[in-house]
């Protein structure tokens, strides 16, 4: 099997050299480091001239950062695989980078075997997500715009009677405290229903809650 040809892009020289040494020393995966870049601009240029299989790309670099480089390279080198290697341990960064066309997202705090695992997955055409961040992404999936009418019905079917009551009152414009006194329950109860129903419906926006309520017939047409 041909070794995976890797281009390293990181402005932190010590880390870059350490990474290169690590990749060349290890024996479990055939890897060849074909070049090193210390910034986004250089990474874009080298990726175009060296045609590596995988670009291991840092995010924060002076000048062009990893996000811009990813967007640029997606356009210029559609077949290049991009593995982000970064310190940013926030799910939002991973989401942005994957949206921009990166194939993998790995933290610099990852252990060596994780690193090789990610490299292999990305080189083979898969996607690698940092496990802890992937968990956060799952917990808060980005709502994917307006769902179809049938899925609105389905989602509505999943709500409990109480949640529907609360939804109706929210859609009518009541505050949580008003709902609590209208239903004669504790504020905490209302909040629980509210958070639950919004998560179930995956709607985090008042206007869309109103739309939804109209769609399922909770509210009359305006």
């Amino acid at each position: 099997m041909n070794p995976i040809r890797v281009l390293l892009a990181d402005d932190h020289t010590v880390l870059r050299l350490g990474l290169r040494a690590f990749l060349e020393e290890q024996t479990s995966l055939a890897v060849r480091v074909v070049g090193e870049a210390s910034g986004g601009q250089e990474a874009v240029a080298l990726a175009q001239s060296l045609h590596p299989d995988v670009l291991m790309l840092d995010l924060s670099m002076p000048g062009m950062g990893g996000l811009e480089a990813t967007i640029e390279l997606r356009r210029l080198e559609p077949r290049l695989r991009i593995l982000i290697l970064t310190q940013h341990a926030e799910a939002i960064y991973m989401r942005r980078l994957l949206e921009a066309g990166a194939n993998g997202y790995l933290l610099k705090s990852a252990r060596g075997d994780e690193l090789l695992c990610a490299l292999r997955a990305v080189a083979e055409g898969g996607t690698y997500m940092e496990p802890t961040l992937a968990g956060q992404l799952m917990a808060h999936p980005e709502h994917s715009g307006d769902d179809t009418a049938t899925s609105a019905e389905e989602a509505y079917a999943r709500l409990t009677q109480r949640e529907r009551q609360v939804l109706k009152l929210i859609a009518e414009g009541m505050s949580n405290k008003e709902i609590a006194s209208a239903l004669d329950v504790a504020l905490k109860t209302v909040m629980t229903h509210r958070v639950n129903l919004m998560d179930k419906l995956d709607i985090h926006n008042h206007a869309r809650l109103v739309q939804f309520s109209i769609k399922v017939g909770l509210l009359p047409m305006a």
Partner: protein
């Protein structure tokens, strides 16, 4: 007559010059006979209001009269008048009048006028009559008229001079002794008038000075408050800038170094070595890992890089998730309206307010849920942080106690005010707490991620 005036007069417009109207201008008016009249006019509400005080037509004496136009303007503008009165010189020529009247405004005016040949009708008649009586009577008559003219003009001229002097010097009016006739009455009234005017002038000056002092004090206070705000804004923005720089530095240097160090240790531990050393290396690696985590926590506490890299809403979401995860609170972020870009100051300030509010929820509320809403309006953005915790009784903002121990809420309010925004606290014991901030959207806001 003048004694009826209740309010002290404040200004006197004086027209003491005898007026010499060219007789030739009007056909039918010839001769050198003077008709004299005193005209006292009082200005009320922009028009001349007064009563005829002295007139050659006795029927008009003390009749109420109202005249605006020329005389009125002249008095208002305080200049001598030299024009024809339309009433007298229009259709029917009539006598000169003296006006005086009740003063309803603090700005009456006095006009003294010696008119000439304006109401000459009687004299012209007389002249014709005299011509028929005979030339011998004419000189006699002229002497008589001349004397009577003098007897009226003299006192008026003296009075005028006295009034002028008083005006120029600001001293009380020294009235010459005129006797008990109308001119004498008038002189006394004038002097009372003038005295009261001087009093009222002094009083006004006192009021003015007091007012001026107050205005100056107020302006000083205002500018101190403005300076305080400006200073606070600069301190805060310098602080934010420094935090941002340190966080970046930590991120780019220490944290990276530690990551590199850890990788190096891991590389080393892959070499064949004695088990004891391998164990030591493992410990070292774990310590480095922990240090890396600490460095990242510190830099994120200093300034979340998400805020600069990704913008306000992602930073809000990120922080809410972070706190919710660590504190086992359920947090939810709702965004309403059309998301508008926030300028850097607004997003940093709102973020800091949000952090402080969330910290209060964690420290004081014992809440299960915290609901965060960002609502974008046409030209404002509203941030609401609502928890279902124990609530509290808010103190007066800025009260001594509130300032002594609790800086959180005050700081939030200050920051909101720096954005020209408002902050409301809706809290009652047992009913949760809601913090509501509204900030204007600046016109040229640009999201500027670095």
């Amino acid at each position: 007559m003048l004694g009826r005036n209740k309010d002290p007069p404040c200004s006197v417009a004086l027209m003491p010059e005898p007026m010499h109207l060219p007789l030739g201008r009007r056909p039918g008016l010839r001769g050198s006979l003077y008709h004299r009249a005193l005209l006292f006019a009082l200005l009320g509400g922009g028009c001349l209001v007064g009563a005829v005080l002295a007139s050659t037509h006795s029927a008009e004496l003390f009749a109420a009269s109202q005249r605006d136009s020329t005389l009125c303007r002249a008095i208002a503008e305080r200049r001598p008048m030299d024009s024809l009165c339309p009433t007298c010189h229009g259709t029917t020529a009539s006598a000169g009048h003296a006006f005086a009247g009740p003063v309803q405004t603090p700005l009456p005016a006095l006009a003294a006028r010696e008119a000439k040949a304006e109401s000459l009708q009687p004299e012209i008649g007389l002249q014709r009559h005299m011509a028929t009586v005979g030339a011998a009577f004419v000189p006699l008559f002229l002497i008589f008229v001349g004397l009577s003219v003098r007897s009226v003009v003299r006192p008026v001229v003296r009075l005028t001079r006295a009034v002028r002097e008083a005006e120029a010097t600001g001293l009380p009016l020294q009235v010459p002794e005129f006797g008990a006739d109308e001119v004498g009455e008038l002189a006394h009234a004038l002097s009372r008038w003038h005295a009261r005017r001087l009093e009222s002038l002094a009083e006004t000056a006192q009021h003015r000075a007091a007012l001026d002092r107050e205005v100056i004090l107020h302006e000083q206070e205002l500018s101190i408050e403005q300076q305080r705000r400006a200073l606070l804004r600069r301190v805060l923005s310098a602080q934010e800038e420094e935090r941002r720089r340190i966080a970046r530095d930590l991120h780019d240097t220490v944290a990276q170094d530690l990551a590199a160090l850890r990788l190096e240790i891991e590389r080393l531990s892959r070499q064949p070595m004695a088990p004891a050393i391998a164990a030591r290396l493992r410990t070292l690696e774990e310590q480095t890992q922990a240090m890396h985590a600490t460095a990242r926590r510190i830099l994120l506490d200093l300034r979340p890089l998400v805020l600069d890299d990704m913008g306000f809403l992602p930073a809000l979401q990120w922080h809410l998730e972070r706190v919710a995860r660590e504190q086992s609170i359920r947090g939810q972020l709702c965004v309403d309206g059309d998301e508008a870009p926030l300028d850097r100051e607004t997003s940093v300030t709102l973020f800091r307010i949000f952090q402080e509010a969330l910290q209060n929820v964690v420290r004081h509320a014992s809440a299960d849920h915290v609901l965060v809403t960002v609502a974008f309006g046409k030209d404002s953005v509203a941030l609401t942080v609502e928890d279902d915790g124990v609530g509290f009784a808010p103190e007066e903002p800025g009260s001594a106690r509130a300032l002594q121990q609790h800086l959180g809420l005050c700081g939030m309010r200050e920051r909101a005010q720096l954005l020209c925004g408002t902050l409301e606290i809706d809290a009652k014991p047992g009913q949760g707490t809601t913090i509501h901030v509204v900030a204007p959207l600046s016109q040229d806001a640009k999201e500027s991620p670095s």
